[in-house]
Amino acid sequence: MSDLHFKTISELSALLAAGETTSVAITQSVIDRTAAVDDKVKAFLSTDADDALAQAKASDERRAAGNPLGPLDGIPIGIKDTLAVKDQPLRCASKMLENYVSPFDATCIVKLREAGAVIWGRLNMDEFAMGSSTENSAYQTTANPWDLDTIPGGSSGGSAAAMAAGEAIATLGTDTGGSIRQPAALCGVVGMKPTYGLISRYGLVAFASSLDQVGPFTRTVEDAAILMQAMLGKDPLDSTSIAPQGETNYSEALKEKKGPWKLGVPREFFGEGIDPEVKANIEKAIDWYKSQGCEIVDISLPHSELAVPVYYIVATAEASSNLARFDGVRYTHRSEEAKDALTLFTKSRGEGFGDEVKRRIILGTYVLSSGYYDAYYLRAQKVRRLILGDFETAFEQVDAILTPTSPTPAFKRGERSDDPLAMYLSDIYTISVNLAGLPAISVPSGFTESGLPIGLQVIGKAFGEADMFAVANAFEKAHDYAQQTPKL
């Protein structure tokens, strides 16, 4: 653990401030570690060591001149391949965008640069963020560093695996139905999805616009708070971004808020389909909160079992519309068989998209089509409001909600590839949070007997990040799960 690449943002920021290390040394450590282990993990689609070292050198020069920018100055942060970074490839792990290089930075990247962070590499994912195992990448499958035969989760599997393997100090992912929290749980790191609108989506390639959010992967809750503070804010380039409400000095809140809290446990999340080891682990975590004086409240989220169908209707409907822009005309793959306007679209799309993307485009087009719109899309939007109502009722009596992040630990690679429904059900505890637009975080809560990580999900009220971080931080600080690293 003395290696720089396994340290936290707060530890490194203290070392940098004390002059005991440099950004170049940290960045080089991350580059060397990636060179040593990424053949096995395959977290990165591409890296640009020269570019990262140039940013690190600029950071060290700022600091030497007496102008450091804050806790993120000089810290290497890996970026999911769905967020635009100027002059770097932006492929969304799809053949459709094989040759696309972004001419601009996403707003969250602009903010990280303003905070001095070193933008590092392009991380693998499920194609267009559609999947729960990172097996839908058109380029490579990423392994879970805790057991290379298992999946890292998805869709931000590269971002989670890179953290577990020490290939970055923090990473960014995106979460539409659990795509940050589920891989974080499966890889034994912290992963957080903010309240909808808190971080600008400008420069995030749209999958389902009413659900998508950018968020951090870190080793500690404290680090997630640091990154969130740097990235949040209303952006004129994203009309769905919202001016922060309530307490947003999260780092300060972590020091001040010590509980005890009233914590809700939804009984629907511990029934059919949950792995017995996961269930026992989360019950133990709940008992720990109880032992600290927290009041544990039995709550009900009665429409939970409908979250999977609602999500896969709403998300695919939005995706079918968003992905219409990949048409073979502008920045995308164009089929050599394109002879006229129609085949330009159909052939280019048929060749450029992978199986899961096609499946979701067809499903989304169907639920929006004449004759089916009312029965599927409109009805799903109504049930979505009932799901939000369940949370609003629960939050009248509790400060935060505790659940497992994923019903099972990491499963074997290939195990669910031909069973999309089984894959969809692996998001069962995370998607209702996206439908309701709430913040949630996954923190490491232990390991199975075979050594696979398990994650505890803490769900907060809308804009209740400060309390959510504090609840998660209390558990993390009292346990050493987050400090453990896999043998690679």
Partner: protein
């Protein structure tokens, strides 16, 4: 209400989606999607009478653009460089009119 036995007419929907699928893909997708739609049947059991549809996580209404100031933009070469085929800063496509 939902159709009795959900079934997707793949050819019809693929045409709407402007998506070319092979016969194998159609066969595989057809079976998988009918299973998935079967799972969606649960939705028909809920009473949604009088429930307002929810399209967005927060109660937002109209959003006005605050000022529309001219700003820096990209040079045409930067944008056309991304296209599969370009000529004189224009995007070239196959012939689309007879």
């Amino acid at each position: 209400m939902m159709p009795e036995k959900p079934h997707i007419d793949i050819d019809y929907v693929a045409n709407l989606a402007r998506l070319d699928l092979s016969d194998d893909e159609k066969a595989k997708l057809g079976t998988q999607l009918d299973d998935i739609l079967g799972h969606f049947d649960k939705l028909s059991t809920v009473d949604v009478e009088g429930v307002e549809p929810m399209a967005h996580a927060h109660r937002v209404f109209n959003v006005w653009r605050e000022g529309d100031e001219p700003g820096e933009t990209y040079a045409p070469e930067v944008l056309t460089k991304m296209t599969p085929e370009q000529r004189d800063n224009q995007v070239v496509v196959p012939k689309v009119v007879e």
